[in-house]
């Protein structure tokens, strides 16, 4: 078979298995787990093959039904989308492997299979947004993504979840509609929905109708900022990410908000082009909002008592780093932003999953009760510590390298004042992460009898935690493994 079809087969695999699973299976047993994990295995091999294929043969465009660029739907299978699809399937495979035991603690038995259906549709739509080269198509995938991401919150049948899910749905829909209105305004000027054709048309007309394009970009920016929780529009995120089951929080925080950042990069660099977006001062607005987000997210996180709420506010701050990378709009800045997408995906899913392990074993969410927890759950707390130190920016862990690259990019772009924001944000990170580590490993729990216990959590939970911890240290020690690949894909956006 022609190997250009592999990315589409990968997406269809998730769609078909996800939809047919609840029809053919009634009980959640080992066969069901095997089906899910083998789907992931095939998807990972297809994604990896596509990644290698792009490296050798170069990028290509996939036209559905042979309709051509002007009428049909087109997928851009390039270095960027193949790399990010690999990240999406690999990380979601780790999270799903973790979730097999954890969901028993979080939701009713009859919802297990439907949970994986929603997760598969979620991955399907994330892959669709990453590959798609057509703005209307991106909008449709975005709506599937917002419905499914509300679904994996409300599947835990509790009062808080329904409320969080409803608020998330309303704000998400406002975001989608704002994005849709922006597309309509761009379509009015250009007459195309394909990103490449739009870019060609905008280059010709942007001086004739700058107001229209500025308005359209404003709507698109607001829509994507609501969905990716940039600071003033973040109000849905803490409720949604903290009340969701732990694997869902890891998926939402580690992957879902990133997909909107890919869309933002596509709109700014591929639809408008770097020159036009700089002439309209879009990069300036982005970096200002990013800087506010980096500081305010951390300040809110300090005040939190619930561990998952704290991690959710920390996500708001980290989203700022990625937007800052895009806002700097140099090659190194964009590479640093994408590197942070990887490092934050690893660190935040490790943090949420280890918090999930603590909740699973001890049913403990209050940070002030973490005394001596490091001796009861050594593996979970060690992974938590590695990821938290990475968030603060201790050398040797992947988070340090992304801050380092970002600082370098900021200096080379001639905007050294952002260094102050990066340092302030790291300092604030230290204020809320270090007390947890200190109380877990240094303070003594008066009720504890044994000196050191081994984690009494299921095997699938600690293996996935160990994988994430290992990856964080590996990419922290040898960042070039990742950075070389990312630098190679940046020309997708900036030539």
């Amino acid at each position: 078979m022609n190997s250009t079809h592999y990315p589409i087969i990968m997406m269809l695999l998730f769609l078909i298995v996800g939809v047919s699973n609840p029809v053919i299976k009634k009980k959640f047993d080992n066969i069901e787990k095997t089906i899910i994990m083998s789907t992931f295995f095939i998807a990972i091999s297809l994604a990896f093959y596509t990644f290698i294929f792009i490296k050798i043969e170069g990028p290509f465009f996939y036209n559905f039904g042979g309709w051509g660029r002007k009428f049909g739907i087109e997928f851009a299978i390039d270095g960027f989308s193949s790399l990010m699809s690999l990240l999406i399937v690999l990380l979601s495979a780790v999270i799903v492997w973790y979730s097999f035991r954890d969901i028993g603690h979080e939701m009713d038995d009859e919802n297990f299979i439907s949970y994986y259906t929603i997760v598969f549709l979620l991955i399907f739509s994330m892959l669709g947004i990453t590959f798609s080269n057509d703005l209307f198509n991106i909008y449709v995938f975005m709506e599937i993504l917002s419905l499914t991401s509300c679904g994996i919150i409300s599947i835990k049948h509790k009062k808080v979840n329904f409320l969080a899910s409803f608020r998330y749905l309303i704000l998400n829909t406002l975001g989608s509609l704002s994005f849709f209105f922006g597309i309509a305004l761009l379509y009015m000027v250009t007459g195309h929905l394909n990103i490449i054709e739009m870019n060609l048309a905008i280059q010709q007309v942007w001086q004739v109708t700058p107001t229209n394009i500025l308005l359209a970009t404003g709507f698109i920016f607001i829509g994507l900022a609501i969905k990716s929780a940039l600071f003033p529009m973040h109000i849905w995120l803490p409720d949604a990410h903290s009340s969701a089951p732990s694997p869902s929080s890891a998926l939402l925080s580690g992957l879902v908000v990133k997909v909107y950042i890919f869309t933002m990069a596509k709109v700014i660099f591929n639809v408008l082009g770097k020159e036009i977006s700089q002439a309209l001062d879009i990069d300036l607005f982005l970096s200002i909002f990013a800087a506010i987000s980096m500081v305010m997210g951390s300040i809110f996180a300090i005040a939190q008592k619930d561990i998952k709420r704290m991690l959710a506010y920390s996500s708001v701050a980290q989203i700022g780093y990625m937007f800052l990378g895009i806002g700097i709009a140099t090659e190194l800045g964009l590479a640093a932003g994408f590197f942070h997408i990887f490092s934050h995906a690893l660190m935040k899913s490790a943090l949420f999953l280890s918090a999930g392990a603590i909740i699973y074993k001890k049913d403990l969410r209050d940070i002030s009760k973490f005394d001596g927890l490091g001796y009861e759950l050594p593996i979970s707390m060690s992974v938590f510590t590695i990821a938290a130190l990475g968030m603060i920016g201790i050398p040797g862990i992947v988070g340090f390298m992304s801050k380092f690259y970002l600082a370098e990019a900021v200096i080379l772009a001639g905007k050294p004042y952002f260094i102050v924001v990066i340092l302030l944000s790291s300092f604030l990170n230290a204020i809320y992460y270090l007390p947890i580590i200190i109380s877990a490993f240094i303070k003594k729990d008066p009720d504890r009898e044994k000196l050191l216990e081994f984690d009494d959590i299921p095997r699938s939970m600690y293996t996935s935690l160990i994988i994430l911890g290992f990856c964080m240290v590996l990419f922290g020690m040898f960042p070039n493994l990742l950075m070389n690949t990312i630098t190679a894909v940046v020309p997708t956006f900036i030539n």
């Binding site: 209307f136 419905l147 009062k159 409803f166 749905l169 406002l174 209105f181 309509a184």
Partner: protein, 126 residues
């Protein structure tokens, strides 16, 4: 006078933007959950109207090509087909949000967002 004329010429754009703002106002100010959903629906409809009216050319014909007729303007059919997809998306969002409202009513016994927040903060204080 020119302003009024240009407003009348683009009455469909003006109408759709007005509907968008009305919908947004409804979503943001009303505390009733059902009214929020209605507001979302108004916003969706306004964008559908906007999108379809972009494709309209005054004096344009239905885009069906008959042999022998040349030099005829056709209305752009692409926006209308896109809006069909948009309507399906809007429907699924409405259905999901209504089912969530049912659950919320069962749990809290009210449809008012402010009252729900009050009940929630009371239970958190305990």
């Amino acid at each position: 006078m020119d302003l009024i004329k240009s407003l009348l010429d683009h009455i469909n754009y003006v109408g759709s933007v007005t509907l968008f703002v009305i919908g947004l106002y409804t979503v943001l100010t009303h505390s009733n959950l059902l009214k929020k959903v209605i507001g979302i629906n108004i916003m969706e409809t306004s964008i559908f109207l906007f999108f379809v009216s972009i494709g309209y050319i005054s004096g344009g014909k239905t885009p069906i090509i008959y042999p022998g007729t040349e030099d005829v303007y056709y209305v752009n059919p692409l926006p209308s087909t896109l809006i069909l997809t948009g309507i399906v998306v809007a429907l699924s969002i409405t259905v999901y949000s209504l089912s969530l409202i049912m659950r919320l009513y069962k749990e809290y016994g009210t449809l008012d967002m402010d009252k729900i927040m009050e009940i929630r903060s009371e239970t958190q204080d305990e």
